[in-house]
Symmetry: C3
Subunit: 118 residues, 3 copies
Protein backbone atom coordinates (compact mmCIF):
# COMPACT_ATOMS: atom_id res chain seq x y z
CA UNK A 1 0.00 0.00 0.00
CA UNK A 2 1.18 3.53 -0.79
CA UNK A 3 0.92 5.63 2.35
CA UNK A 4 1.75 8.95 0.73
CA UNK A 5 2.46 9.40 -2.95
CA UNK A 6 1.58 10.62 -6.40
CA UNK A 7 -0.11 8.85 -9.30
CA UNK A 8 0.59 9.85 -12.87
CA UNK A 9 -1.97 8.85 -15.50
CA UNK A 10 -1.14 9.80 -19.08
CA UNK A 11 -2.29 9.00 -22.58
CA UNK A 12 0.39 7.22 -24.57
CA UNK A 13 -0.97 8.50 -27.89
CA UNK A 14 -0.53 12.08 -29.03
CA UNK A 15 -4.07 12.54 -30.31
CA UNK A 16 -5.54 11.52 -26.96
CA UNK A 17 -5.99 13.05 -23.52
CA UNK A 18 -6.32 11.98 -19.95
CA UNK A 19 -8.28 14.57 -18.02
CA UNK A 20 -10.28 14.95 -14.84
CA UNK A 21 -13.78 16.31 -14.89
CA UNK A 22 -17.42 15.46 -14.27
CA UNK A 23 -18.96 12.11 -15.24
CA UNK A 24 -21.94 13.69 -16.99
CA UNK A 25 -22.84 12.60 -20.52
CA UNK A 26 -24.12 15.99 -21.65
CA UNK A 27 -20.89 17.65 -20.63
CA UNK A 28 -18.83 15.20 -22.63
CA UNK A 29 -20.95 15.86 -25.72
CA UNK A 30 -20.44 19.59 -25.06
CA UNK A 31 -16.67 19.06 -24.93
CA UNK A 32 -16.72 17.37 -28.33
CA UNK A 33 -18.72 20.15 -29.92
CA UNK A 34 -16.67 22.86 -28.27
CA UNK A 35 -13.35 21.31 -29.29
CA UNK A 36 -14.62 20.93 -32.85
CA UNK A 37 -15.28 24.67 -32.82
CA UNK A 38 -11.78 25.46 -31.51
CA UNK A 39 -9.98 23.09 -33.91
CA UNK A 40 -12.28 21.96 -36.73
CA UNK A 41 -11.53 18.67 -38.43
CA UNK A 42 -12.51 20.13 -41.82
CA UNK A 43 -11.28 21.30 -44.18
CA UNK A 44 -8.49 18.80 -43.60
CA UNK A 45 -6.39 20.53 -46.27
CA UNK A 46 -5.89 23.63 -44.15
CA UNK A 47 -3.48 21.84 -41.81
CA UNK A 48 0.11 21.30 -42.99
CA UNK A 49 0.34 18.17 -40.85
CA UNK A 50 -2.27 16.51 -43.03
CA UNK A 51 0.07 16.69 -46.03
CA UNK A 52 1.90 13.77 -44.42
CA UNK A 53 -1.06 11.65 -45.48
CA UNK A 54 -2.86 11.82 -42.13
CA UNK A 55 -6.02 13.77 -41.51
CA UNK A 56 -5.79 14.15 -37.75
CA UNK A 57 -4.06 17.51 -37.21
CA UNK A 58 -7.16 18.76 -35.41
CA UNK A 59 -6.89 15.85 -32.96
CA UNK A 60 -3.36 16.96 -32.01
CA UNK A 61 -4.81 20.37 -31.14
CA UNK A 62 -7.80 19.07 -29.22
CA UNK A 63 -5.47 16.96 -27.13
CA UNK A 64 -3.46 20.04 -26.12
CA UNK A 65 -6.59 21.81 -24.89
CA UNK A 66 -7.68 18.81 -22.82
CA UNK A 67 -4.19 17.85 -21.65
CA UNK A 68 -2.02 14.74 -21.85
CA UNK A 69 -1.88 13.74 -18.21
CA UNK A 70 -3.16 14.10 -14.70
CA UNK A 71 -1.29 13.77 -11.44
CA UNK A 72 -3.36 12.72 -8.43
CA UNK A 73 -2.26 12.53 -4.82
CA UNK A 74 -2.44 9.23 -2.93
CA UNK A 75 -3.02 8.97 0.82
CA UNK A 76 -3.30 5.67 2.68
CA UNK A 77 -3.76 3.74 -0.54
CA UNK A 78 -6.51 5.90 -2.01
CA UNK A 79 -6.60 8.58 -4.70
CA UNK A 80 -7.30 12.00 -3.17
CA UNK A 81 -10.22 13.08 -5.32
CA UNK A 82 -12.40 16.13 -4.93
CA UNK A 83 -16.14 15.41 -4.67
CA UNK A 84 -16.85 15.11 -8.44
CA UNK A 85 -13.43 14.34 -9.84
CA UNK A 86 -13.15 11.37 -12.17
CA UNK A 87 -10.44 10.44 -14.64
CA UNK A 88 -11.36 10.17 -18.32
CA UNK A 89 -9.60 9.13 -21.48
CA UNK A 90 -10.46 11.16 -24.58
CA UNK A 91 -9.41 10.03 -28.05
CA UNK A 92 -9.85 12.71 -30.70
CA UNK A 93 -8.71 10.77 -33.76
CA UNK A 94 -10.39 7.55 -32.83
CA UNK A 95 -8.42 5.10 -34.84
CA UNK A 96 -6.07 3.66 -32.31
CA UNK A 97 -6.00 1.23 -29.50
CA UNK A 98 -6.24 3.13 -26.24
CA UNK A 99 -3.15 2.93 -24.12
CA UNK A 100 -2.80 4.61 -20.75
CA UNK A 101 0.22 4.68 -18.52
CA UNK A 102 -0.32 4.64 -14.77
CA UNK A 103 2.65 5.19 -12.48
CA UNK A 104 2.39 5.32 -8.72
CA UNK A 105 5.26 6.42 -6.53
CA UNK A 106 5.52 7.05 -2.85
CA UNK A 107 6.23 5.58 0.54
CA UNK A 108 5.17 2.00 0.69
CA UNK A 109 3.78 0.46 3.83
CA UNK A 110 3.94 -3.28 4.36
CA UNK A 111 0.46 -4.76 4.39
CA UNK A 112 -0.45 -8.00 6.02
CA UNK A 113 -2.16 -9.77 3.15
CA UNK A 114 -2.19 -13.10 4.95
CA UNK A 115 -4.25 -12.24 7.97
CA UNK A 116 -7.74 -13.70 8.05
CA UNK A 117 -10.73 -11.42 8.45
CA UNK A 118 -11.84 -11.03 12.04
CA UNK B 1 12.40 19.55 5.30
CA UNK B 2 12.12 18.07 1.81
CA UNK B 3 15.58 17.96 0.26
CA UNK B 4 14.47 16.91 -3.20
CA UNK B 5 10.89 16.37 -4.22
CA UNK B 6 7.77 17.34 -6.10
CA UNK B 7 4.76 19.35 -5.01
CA UNK B 8 1.36 18.80 -6.55
CA UNK B 9 -1.20 21.57 -6.24
CA UNK B 10 -4.63 20.90 -7.71
CA UNK B 11 -8.10 22.32 -7.63
CA UNK B 12 -10.57 19.97 -5.98
CA UNK B 13 -13.52 21.38 -7.93
CA UNK B 14 -14.07 20.68 -11.60
CA UNK B 15 -14.99 24.21 -12.56
CA UNK B 16 -11.75 25.58 -11.12
CA UNK B 17 -8.08 25.67 -12.06
CA UNK B 18 -4.72 25.89 -10.43
CA UNK B 19 -2.25 27.48 -12.80
CA UNK B 20 1.10 29.23 -12.79
CA UNK B 21 1.54 32.58 -14.44
CA UNK B 22 2.28 36.22 -13.79
CA UNK B 23 0.90 38.15 -10.80
CA UNK B 24 -0.36 41.05 -12.91
CA UNK B 25 -3.91 42.26 -12.51
CA UNK B 26 -4.37 43.30 -16.13
CA UNK B 27 -3.33 39.86 -17.33
CA UNK B 28 -5.87 38.17 -15.09
CA UNK B 29 -8.63 40.41 -16.44
CA UNK B 30 -7.40 39.50 -19.95
CA UNK B 31 -7.65 35.82 -19.09
CA UNK B 32 -11.27 36.22 -18.00
CA UNK B 33 -12.22 38.04 -21.19
CA UNK B 34 -10.30 35.64 -23.40
CA UNK B 35 -11.83 32.56 -21.77
CA UNK B 36 -15.28 34.09 -22.11
CA UNK B 37 -14.58 34.37 -25.83
CA UNK B 38 -13.43 30.75 -26.11
CA UNK B 39 -16.31 29.33 -24.04
CA UNK B 40 -19.12 31.89 -23.60
CA UNK B 41 -21.40 31.56 -20.61
CA UNK B 42 -24.41 32.59 -22.70
CA UNK B 43 -26.64 31.39 -24.15
CA UNK B 44 -26.68 28.83 -21.36
CA UNK B 45 -29.16 26.73 -23.34
CA UNK B 46 -26.60 25.82 -25.97
CA UNK B 47 -24.79 23.44 -23.61
CA UNK B 48 -26.32 20.01 -22.99
CA UNK B 49 -24.75 19.96 -19.53
CA UNK B 50 -26.97 22.84 -18.50
CA UNK B 51 -30.06 20.68 -19.00
CA UNK B 52 -29.12 19.05 -15.71
CA UNK B 53 -30.27 22.27 -14.06
CA UNK B 54 -26.82 23.80 -13.79
CA UNK B 55 -25.63 26.73 -15.87
CA UNK B 56 -21.90 26.24 -15.57
CA UNK B 57 -20.95 24.16 -18.64
CA UNK B 58 -18.72 27.02 -19.80
CA UNK B 59 -16.82 26.87 -16.51
CA UNK B 60 -15.98 23.20 -17.14
CA UNK B 61 -14.45 24.28 -20.45
CA UNK B 62 -12.55 27.25 -19.10
CA UNK B 63 -11.03 25.01 -16.46
CA UNK B 64 -9.67 22.65 -19.15
CA UNK B 65 -7.92 25.53 -20.94
CA UNK B 66 -6.31 26.77 -17.74
CA UNK B 67 -5.58 23.32 -16.30
CA UNK B 68 -6.46 21.45 -13.11
CA UNK B 69 -3.06 21.20 -11.48
CA UNK B 70 0.56 22.22 -11.35
CA UNK B 71 3.57 20.20 -10.30
CA UNK B 72 6.50 22.17 -8.93
CA UNK B 73 9.94 20.86 -8.02
CA UNK B 74 11.25 21.25 -4.49
CA UNK B 75 14.93 21.62 -3.62
CA UNK B 76 16.22 22.10 -0.09
CA UNK B 77 12.78 22.94 1.23
CA UNK B 78 11.92 25.57 -1.37
CA UNK B 79 9.73 25.54 -4.49
CA UNK B 80 11.85 25.82 -7.64
CA UNK B 81 10.13 28.75 -9.32
CA UNK B 82 11.19 30.60 -12.43
CA UNK B 83 11.61 34.38 -12.00
CA UNK B 84 7.92 35.33 -12.41
CA UNK B 85 6.15 32.10 -11.62
CA UNK B 86 3.35 32.24 -9.08
CA UNK B 87 0.55 29.80 -8.36
CA UNK B 88 -3.04 30.97 -8.80
CA UNK B 89 -6.46 29.51 -8.17
CA UNK B 90 -9.09 30.36 -10.77
CA UNK B 91 -12.77 29.64 -10.16
CA UNK B 92 -14.89 29.98 -13.29
CA UNK B 93 -18.29 29.22 -11.82
CA UNK B 94 -17.82 31.15 -8.65
CA UNK B 95 -20.34 29.52 -6.44
CA UNK B 96 -18.27 27.19 -4.38
CA UNK B 97 -15.91 27.19 -1.50
CA UNK B 98 -12.37 27.03 -2.82
CA UNK B 99 -10.55 23.83 -2.00
CA UNK B 100 -7.00 23.12 -3.05
CA UNK B 101 -5.03 19.97 -2.48
CA UNK B 102 -1.31 20.30 -1.83
CA UNK B 103 0.80 17.15 -1.74
CA UNK B 104 4.55 17.17 -1.23
CA UNK B 105 6.64 14.09 -1.70
CA UNK B 106 10.37 13.53 -1.65
CA UNK B 107 13.40 12.80 0.45
CA UNK B 108 13.01 14.18 3.91
CA UNK B 109 15.93 15.56 5.86
CA UNK B 110 15.79 15.78 9.62
CA UNK B 111 15.76 19.39 10.78
CA UNK B 112 16.77 20.61 14.20
CA UNK B 113 13.65 22.48 15.22
CA UNK B 114 14.75 22.75 18.82
CA UNK B 115 17.87 24.84 18.43
CA UNK B 116 17.58 28.42 19.70
CA UNK B 117 18.35 31.32 17.36
CA UNK B 118 21.94 32.52 17.60
CA UNK C 1 19.93 5.03 -11.94
CA UNK C 2 16.27 5.64 -11.13
CA UNK C 3 14.47 2.31 -10.99
CA UNK C 4 10.97 3.72 -10.67
CA UNK C 5 10.13 7.38 -10.60
CA UNK C 6 8.70 10.51 -12.14
CA UNK C 7 10.33 13.25 -14.18
CA UNK C 8 8.98 16.78 -14.16
CA UNK C 9 9.95 19.03 -17.06
CA UNK C 10 8.65 22.60 -16.93
CA UNK C 11 9.24 25.90 -18.61
CA UNK C 12 10.66 28.48 -16.21
CA UNK C 13 9.21 31.39 -18.19
CA UNK C 14 5.53 32.24 -18.16
CA UNK C 15 5.23 32.87 -21.90
CA UNK C 16 6.63 29.44 -22.71
CA UNK C 17 5.43 25.84 -22.65
CA UNK C 18 6.81 22.38 -22.30
CA UNK C 19 4.56 19.91 -24.07
CA UNK C 20 4.60 16.42 -25.51
CA UNK C 21 3.50 15.78 -29.04
CA UNK C 22 4.69 14.65 -32.46
CA UNK C 23 8.05 15.66 -33.95
CA UNK C 24 6.55 16.75 -37.26
CA UNK C 25 7.42 20.15 -38.69
CA UNK C 26 4.06 20.72 -40.35
CA UNK C 27 2.23 20.10 -37.10
CA UNK C 28 4.36 22.65 -35.27
CA UNK C 29 3.61 25.26 -37.94
CA UNK C 30 -0.08 24.35 -37.55
CA UNK C 31 0.17 24.88 -33.80
CA UNK C 32 1.57 28.38 -34.31
CA UNK C 33 -1.17 29.35 -36.73
CA UNK C 34 -3.90 27.80 -34.57
CA UNK C 35 -2.68 29.51 -31.40
CA UNK C 36 -2.50 32.83 -33.24
CA UNK C 37 -6.16 32.33 -34.11
CA UNK C 38 -7.11 31.56 -30.49
CA UNK C 39 -5.10 34.44 -29.00
CA UNK C 40 -4.03 36.93 -31.66
CA UNK C 41 -0.96 39.05 -31.01
CA UNK C 42 -2.60 42.08 -32.64
CA UNK C 43 -4.08 44.48 -31.90
CA UNK C 44 -1.75 44.61 -28.89
CA UNK C 45 -3.86 47.40 -27.39
CA UNK C 46 -6.79 45.10 -26.73
CA UNK C 47 -5.00 43.38 -23.85
CA UNK C 48 -4.84 45.17 -20.49
CA UNK C 49 -1.57 43.41 -19.71
CA UNK C 50 0.09 45.27 -22.55
CA UNK C 51 -0.53 48.59 -20.77
CA UNK C 52 2.37 47.61 -18.53
CA UNK C 53 4.63 48.35 -21.50
CA UNK C 54 4.87 44.75 -22.67
CA UNK C 55 3.23 43.44 -25.82
CA UNK C 56 3.14 39.74 -24.96
CA UNK C 57 -0.29 39.19 -23.37
CA UNK C 58 -1.14 36.78 -26.18
CA UNK C 59 1.93 34.70 -25.32
CA UNK C 60 0.65 34.24 -21.76
CA UNK C 61 -2.55 32.83 -23.25
CA UNK C 62 -0.88 30.57 -25.79
CA UNK C 63 1.21 29.12 -22.99
CA UNK C 64 -1.91 28.15 -21.04
CA UNK C 65 -3.33 26.25 -24.03
CA UNK C 66 -0.10 24.32 -24.56
CA UNK C 67 0.69 23.85 -20.86
CA UNK C 68 3.59 24.69 -18.56
CA UNK C 69 4.88 21.23 -17.74
CA UNK C 70 4.90 17.54 -18.42
CA UNK C 71 5.36 14.68 -16.01
CA UNK C 72 6.82 11.50 -17.46
CA UNK C 73 7.23 8.15 -15.74
CA UNK C 74 10.68 6.58 -15.39
CA UNK C 75 11.32 2.85 -15.31
CA UNK C 76 14.77 1.29 -15.08
CA UNK C 77 16.45 4.57 -15.96
CA UNK C 78 14.40 5.33 -19.06
CA UNK C 79 11.50 7.69 -19.74
CA UNK C 80 8.29 5.76 -20.40
CA UNK C 81 7.25 7.28 -23.70
CA UNK C 82 4.42 6.25 -25.96
CA UNK C 83 5.43 5.44 -29.55
CA UNK C 84 5.47 9.04 -30.88
CA UNK C 85 5.85 11.07 -27.71
CA UNK C 86 8.58 13.68 -27.65
CA UNK C 87 9.09 16.64 -25.36
CA UNK C 88 9.13 20.13 -26.88
CA UNK C 89 9.77 23.63 -25.62
CA UNK C 90 7.56 26.33 -27.12
CA UNK C 91 8.33 30.01 -26.61
CA UNK C 92 5.48 32.29 -27.67
CA UNK C 93 7.05 35.64 -26.94
CA UNK C 94 10.45 34.77 -28.28
CA UNK C 95 12.57 37.31 -26.51
CA UNK C 96 14.06 35.35 -23.69
CA UNK C 97 16.70 32.82 -23.01
CA UNK C 98 15.08 29.42 -22.78
CA UNK C 99 15.21 27.86 -19.34
CA UNK C 100 13.80 24.46 -18.53
CA UNK C 101 13.68 22.76 -15.17
CA UNK C 102 14.08 18.99 -15.06
CA UNK C 103 13.48 17.18 -11.78
CA UNK C 104 13.70 13.44 -11.41
CA UNK C 105 12.57 11.67 -8.28
CA UNK C 106 12.25 8.01 -7.43
CA UNK C 107 13.95 4.96 -6.08
CA UNK C 108 17.60 5.01 -6.86
CA UNK C 109 19.54 1.88 -7.59
CA UNK C 110 23.28 1.81 -7.04
CA UNK C 111 25.15 1.51 -10.32
CA UNK C 112 28.68 0.26 -10.66
CA UNK C 113 30.30 3.18 -12.50
CA UNK C 114 33.80 1.92 -11.81
CA UNK C 115 33.74 -1.37 -13.60
CA UNK C 116 35.68 -1.50 -16.86
CA UNK C 117 33.93 -2.60 -20.05
CA UNK C 118 34.28 -6.29 -20.72
Amino acid sequence: MIKRGLTLVNAMHITASVFINDDERGLHADYEEWLEGLAPHEPVGKYRHNRTGEDNADAHMKRQVMGREVVVAVTDGRLDFGPWEQIFYGEFDGRRRKRVLVKIIGEQVATDHGSPPR
